[in-house]
Structure formats: structure tokens, C-alpha cells
Symmetry: C2
Subunit: 449 residues, 2 copies
């Protein structure tokens, strides 16, 4: 039951590899993916992976915090919590207890564009999981007794994750500054003063609007075949009636940005200062031509790991930074975020780190990237995909996040070709066009005095 | 047909006196105000002023840009323009032609919280004005032929007022940074890319929702009496049916702000650099106790004219600034904005100006204000009110803007008492509590190189 503010980044950092979770799979090594829809509109993707007797069952809803009504921030994540309460057929916590009983793992997460629920279990328990998941799609019991204590849980979660973490507080206000109009400016977990007012009506309204088979994608990966998944899905999810047709997910978009902005938080709880710089850039969904692919490779060349320019220059060669990286949040329904960040080491200041990172960006904007360097980056990039693929739930996440942000199964299949087609000129052009200092938003996290 | 981004400031600067237009009248000198409502919900305020045979007729709607739906920025102002097109009974421009014909003046303006239309004419033409104004409240013709060309006019207006004015561009992004959640972050005129998409459906929807007698306030000031105004109003506005009940004007409010922010625009069109710093503060509507009154006096003492601390120190004594002032946007439905600003002169830099203004704020936060200084400020403040009152339409504006932002006629009557009750301690407390450097948003307008 996580808030994924920055899903790919967190996943990537956790796994020690960048961009893995947010980018699609290398097709040549991809298994045969089956994709079909049930009559009620539920889209189903089946990813065979027979290396172990395990199956990952993920249900993705095409709703996230960026779909929330103004003033109702946090309802998407709040609702994710409520899904673990009881239904008309199962008591509170019964589903989770069942997962634990069969030695499985479960989780759920909410992001800007989607909310997902998953279990990892032995294949023979899959029917059971699907029955439970289909049940809570429509039979959830939303009483005041369920709502009020869970709101306190969320408030506590926000206290511990955000209010007590200066880095998170800063990050929230950097986003609120970066996006002047688009709802990505609002934190996924919600603003505290709005969470405090979320009520039963909000929850019921949200459930009725967004939780329906025609607004969901089922991803099943593992030791299964498409035919049996289809049969199981028909018998469980197939019984849930189609919900009302939802209007297109059109959110307010960014105006042309003209200013350079900074956001500074000085806090006595800060140990190591850190610096970040962000820009609004196209995503895989909004990018034209190879824009998104070029941004992916730009992030890789610039700061996508220990071989990257920023890391080599700041951390290895000059030793002025303890960390330094670039990150592109590629998978998003709308225009998204490209960032660089770093922390000073030793005598170096945060200004030294910023200046050095700026210089690396300027170098690419002026001189471009080398052919060999680009080829290596593409290889590293693809290798990290294979690495990601090796995790069954990594695969499921790639499909789920792509399909709930406007992408298709074909987009994932065609992705390696598109990455390969990116030229050094494309990468240079992306740096020039998007990493413009005049429109950057810098964040400074500083210790007191 | 104006966008009033910052109504009080503009009016005040134009008139050479600060805070005049946004703050209410000194009651002792006030004429007898009559206030009543028609059966259809129209609120009417009559302000007698018999010094000249002139009457100001203003119709205020309780809708402004902060009431717009997300993604529809600019519709309130766009709609104000459309109100000058034809109705079922009068051709396009006929109303304006009539005003000109009788030697009158007219205008209209849109702000965050209200939209108003006014004519200044001889008293005998008032019935005519009321008939025209009541007619366009309900009989407007909104065809595609009317909408499309007017949208081009608005786009041109935005081009000339904003896109070609670096100061306005900066100001827009400072607001978008200052407000992280509240719609005051969005420019009244609208973002260009959203203006371009406004259409007939948007206009009709807006008209149906907001243009109705029960969502309007009629203010008539001048050589008239309440009885005859009531009779005329019944005969014109009284014929317009009540519209649907509108929900309370509840907009998303600001989260707790934790960061210091800067917004910088470097532009070759900038001649003189300038600096501003803003904070989100309570308005007369949201303030508790004497918070708003204290902020009004803080703005007056700090930078409310040539006697103020900032002006005396920066412009007169040290000569480092060509202008320096403070401003509090007191009249607003929701939490609002307090700002200081200045431009360097001679060898002085923008940093010198910022530092000197910061020092003046710190002085008040540390040492407070003197009793005599406060008394003088109160007197100056009240004197500027009398000055404002002397303009018939200034009076009408005070009533209109107060009544459309949650205030009452009684609030205006009681205002001088409340101002008088403000203590030096209140002013110091306001500076400490609200002008906190850790939460300030600074704007820098800089020439290229």
C-alpha cells in the first residue's frame, strides 16, 4: 500500500539500475505476449514465464492522483487503502490473510496515472486471487466505520513519509513549482489539509466512477497460459458489469514556461545537502517522433549510472559529489519530468555540484554525444531492460504502466527498434530543446547554517 | 473591457494613491447607504451622491477567473467581452452606442473573484442603462459567428498585454509559483493555449451557470434615491428569473508552504530591472480577528506611499531605488497576496534593493512600529479613503468588490473602527507571522546581460 510518487525512480534506485522499470522490454528476448479484452471491457495481458512455479497477478486501474477533482487530493491513494477493507462477501483483511496463508506476497501502489494491486502466488492459487480481486472491484463496503480510521492511517503515513522528511517536503514544492497548471504538481499522497477532509461521499463517488472493468487492465505473468487465464478471467472479472463510459483523460496542460525558478528548503534535520534541477518534457505518450526515446538515451548518457558523464566527472574524476545522476520519468499520460541531481562531497559546495552538472549538460547541447558512447548507452539501456525482465513483476509493471498511460502492447514490442533508431543528433537536439536553463526549476535542500 | 489582474494595485497606482480602491470607506463621512434584495435574489446597493448630476450604474457578478473549471482559464474574461455582443433584443454594440450617444462612459472588468459592468451617465438615462444591462443578463446571443472573432480579439489582447510585456510574463509565473493549489495561481486573462480552445459550449455553459440575478450585486451611486432605484430595478432586473442555486464558492486552498522560491525572467526587452517578493496571507474575508486590518496597516507603514519606511529609506535617504513599495491585496474571497517591490537606481543592484527591503521588514518584525507612526499611517490610510470616496465610481467599486468577495455592507461601515483598533503589537505580529523569508516567493526581472 504505497504511494508511488515517482514509481520508476524508486523502483530503479531500489534495484540499483536506472530506467529499468519505466521503460519497455527488449522485444527480441520477449516471450509471446497475449492480449485480449473481455466483453465488459477489461483488457487482459498474459506474459508467460515458466522458469518457476510462480504467477504475478496485477490489476491496474486507469486512475491516479492526476485524475482527482480539485480540492480532493489524496483520494486515489486513500481509495487504494480502502480496497483492503471488507466486501459484501469477505471480511476486512480476509484477502490479505489468504495471500499470507498460501505463502504469497501482495502489494498495491498509487501513482499519478494509475493505481495497481498485485499478488505473487503459486499458479494453483491464481483462481482464488482473481475471485478476490474481482469481488473488491464492485462489492466493497464503504461505511463510516471503515473510512474514518483509515483516514487516520493515511494522515499518519503522510506524517512519517513527508512531514518528517525534509527531502520529501522539498520535492513536493518543487513539483508544485515545476507544473504551473497540470495536476502532476499535486502530490500523489495528497496535501494534508485536503486528506483531512476526505469523506465517505468522496470515496463512494470515486469508486463508482473509476473502479470498473472497462477502466482496468489485468496483467498476469508467470507459469500460466493465455487460454486458462482467459477462462479464469471470464469466470471472475467477466461477471462484473461494465461501468459507465468515462470521458477522455484530458487534464489541464502546461502553458509555455518562460522563467527559471528555484525552491529552497533549509531544515535542521538535513544531514547532507542536495541539489536537483527539473524540466517539463514530453513523455512516451506525448512525445513526437523519437523525442521520448532521445530523452531516455540523454538521461542514460548524462546520468544513467556509474558509466554516465555526470557520475564519471563529478563522483569519479573530481570527487566533488557523493552522488550524481539524471532521470527521465518516461512513462506518463501527459508531459512529464526530466531531472538531474547530486549531493556535494567533502569541501565541495552545492553550487560546485550544480555548476559541474550544468557544464555536462552544456557540453552535450554544444558538442553532442559520440557514436560509440551512444551505442554503449543503448546497450546498457537494453541490458537493464533484460535485467528488469528477469523480475517477473518487473515485466508485469512495464505492461501495466504502459497500458494505463496511453501506450499499447505494440508500443512495447516496437520500443527496441525505436531506441536503436535514435541518432546522436536526436540526443543533442533533445538537450538543446528541453534542458533549457531559462525554464529549469532547481531545488536546494540545505542543512541549517 | 479590462482584465484586472490586480485590481486594487492598478487602480491605486493609476490614481497615485495606494490601497484606496481595495479598502472600504471611512464611515463617519459616509452617506446613507441603502441595501435591499429583489425577489429574484438580486442584491441592490444605493449610494447617494448629489454633488453632480451623474450616476454610476454597476452590475457585479459573483464569478471571476478563480471560479473557472480546470483547463478553461480565461472564460470569465472572454465572457465579459461577449457581453458586449448582441442580445435577442439589441444588436451587437447597440448598448455601447447608446452610452456614447448620451455622453456617458462605460467599462467592464474581470478579476479573480468578480466580473463587473458599469456605465456613468446622467440620471435620466439610468432607466435605459438598467434595461440594457438586465436584457444582456439573460438574452445574449451566443452564436459561432460571435464567438470566433472575439476569441481572436482576446488572443490579440493577451499578445499585447502579456506576451509582449516581460513584466507581465514574470508576474504570471510568480503567481503560478506563489499559489501551489489555489486558482489565484492562474492568470485572469487565461493561459494562451487554453484561451485558444475556448468555444461556444464553454460560453453557453458559463452564462447559464453564473449570469443570473441571484448571483449578482447591483450598485448604483450618484444623484439618485433608493426608492426610485428600487422601482427601476423591479421594472428591469426584476423581470429576469432567478437562476439555479449555486454551490458555495469553495476553491482548493493552499497547503502549508515550507519553501523559499525565486522566479527569474531575463529578457532583452527589459529596460529597468525590478524585484518583488510575495507571500500568501489572509484576506479581509479569511482573516481572523484583526489580521487583515493589521496587514493593511503593515503595508501602509512599510511601503504605502512616499512617507513609508521603504520609500524613505531606499528612494529618499539612500537613493538606491527609483521605486519601492508594499502592497496588500486585501479584498479577496480567499487567502491572498502581500507584496513588496522595488527597482534599483544608479549604481545600485537588484540585490541591494532586495537586501534593503528585507532589512526594513526585519526591523518591523524585531522592533515593531512606533505609536505615532501607526497613528499617522491610520490617518493617511483613512485620508486616502476619503480621496477614493470622492470618486463616485471609487465608492461603487468598494461596495461591489466587498459584496462579491464575501463581505457585507456592515463590514464596510465597521471598517474604520476596526482599523482604529489595530495596535502596534498587531502590526508587528503580522510581520512576524506572515512575512516569513522561508516562505517568500521572489521575482526578478532582469535585462539581458
Amino acid at each position: 500500500m504505497d504511494v508511488i510518487r515517482d514509481f520508476s525512480l524508486r523502483a530503479a534506485l531500489a534495484a540499483g539500475l536506472l530506467a529499468a522499470a519505466s521503460a519497455p522490454l527488449h522485444a527480441e528476448d520477449a516471450p509471446q505476449i497475449d492480449s485480449f479484452s473481455l466483453d465488459n471491457g477489461l483488457q487482459v495481458v498474459v506474459i508467460p514465464d515458466r522458469r518457476a512455479p510462480i504467477v504475478t497477478h496485477m490489476l491496474w486501474y486507469k486512475v491516479g492522483s492526476a485524475d482527482e477533482d480539485p480540492g480532493k487530493s489524496g483520494i486515489a491513494h486513500f481509495f487504494e487503502h480502502l480496497m483492503f477493507k471488507g466486501t459484501a462477501n469477505h471480511g476486512p483483511g480476509e484477502f490479505s490473510a489468504r495471500v499470507a496463508e498460501v505463502g504469497g506476497r501482495e502489494n498495491a501502489f498509487t501513482s499519478y496515472d494509475y493505481t495497481a494491486y498485485y499478488q505473487q502466488v503459486a499458479p494453483q492459487v491464481l483462481p482464488d486471487m482473481m475471485a478476490f480481486e474481482a469481488d473488491r472491484m464492485t462489492n466493497l463496503v464503504l461505511t463510516e466505520e471503515v473510512i474514518a480510521p483509515e483516514r487516520d492511517v493515511i494522515i499518519e503515513e503522510r506524517n512519517s513519509r513527508v512531514e518528517n522528511d525534509p527531502g520529501s517536503l522539498l520535492s513536493e514544492e518543487v513539483s508544485a513549482t515545476l507544473y504551473q497548471n497540470h495536476p502532476y504538481r499535486i502530490p500523489v499522497i495528497g496535501w494534508m489539509h485536503e486528506i483531512e477532509k476526505l469523506n465517505r461521499d468522496d470515496a463512494i463517488d470515486f469508486y463508482r466512477r473509476y473502479y470498473a472493468p472497462n477502466n482496468a487492465v489485468l496483467v498476469v505473468a508467470g507459469d500460466v497460459d493465455a487460454a486458462s487465464v482467459r477462462e479464469l478471467a471470464e469466470a471472475t472479472y467477466g461477471k462484473v458489469p461494465r461501468g459507465p463510459d468515462l470521458p477522455p483523460r484530458v487534464r489541464p496542460t502546461e502553458p509555455e514556461q518562460n522563467t527559471r525558478r528555484t525552491v529552497t528548503l533549509v531544515d535542521e534535520r538535513v544531514g547532507v545537502p542536495s541539489f536537483s534541477k527539473r524540466w517539463v518534457v514530453p513523455s512516451y505518450t506525448t512525445g513526437e517522433g523519437r523525442e521520448a526515446e532521445a530523452l531516455d538515451l540523454l538521461a542514460e548518457v548524462l546520468g544513467g549510472g556509474v558509466r554516465s558523464r555526470i557520475y564519471q566527472e563529478l563522483v569519479v574524476r573530481r570527487g566533488i559529489a557523493s552522488s550524481a545522476m539524471a532521470y527521465y520519468q518516461s512513462t506518463a499520460l501527459d508531459d512529464t519530468m526530466f531531472m538531474v541531481m547530486g549531493s556535494p562531497r567533502g569541501e565541495a559546495t552545492i553550487a560546485d555540484v550544480e555548476k559541474a552538472i550544468d557544464a555536462e549538460i552544456a557540453k552535450i547541447a554544444t558538442d553532442g554525444v559520440g557514436e560509440e558512447e551512444l551505442e554503449k548507452a543503448k546497450k546498457r539501456f537494453v541490458r537493464s531492460m533484460i535485467f528488469a525482465r528477469d523480475e517477473q513483476d518487473g515485466m508485469a509493471r512495464i505492461y501495466g504502466s504502459t497500458l494505463t498511460t496511453g501506450g499499447t502492447v505494440e508500443d512495447i514490442a516496437g520500443w527496441p527498434e525505436r531506441i536503436r533508431a535514435v541518432t546522436a543528433g536526436d540526443v543533442k537536439a533533445a538537450a538543446v530543446r528541453w534542458l533549457d536553463e531559462r525554464r529549469a526549476v532547481a531545488g536546494y535542500l540545505l542543512p541549517k547554517e
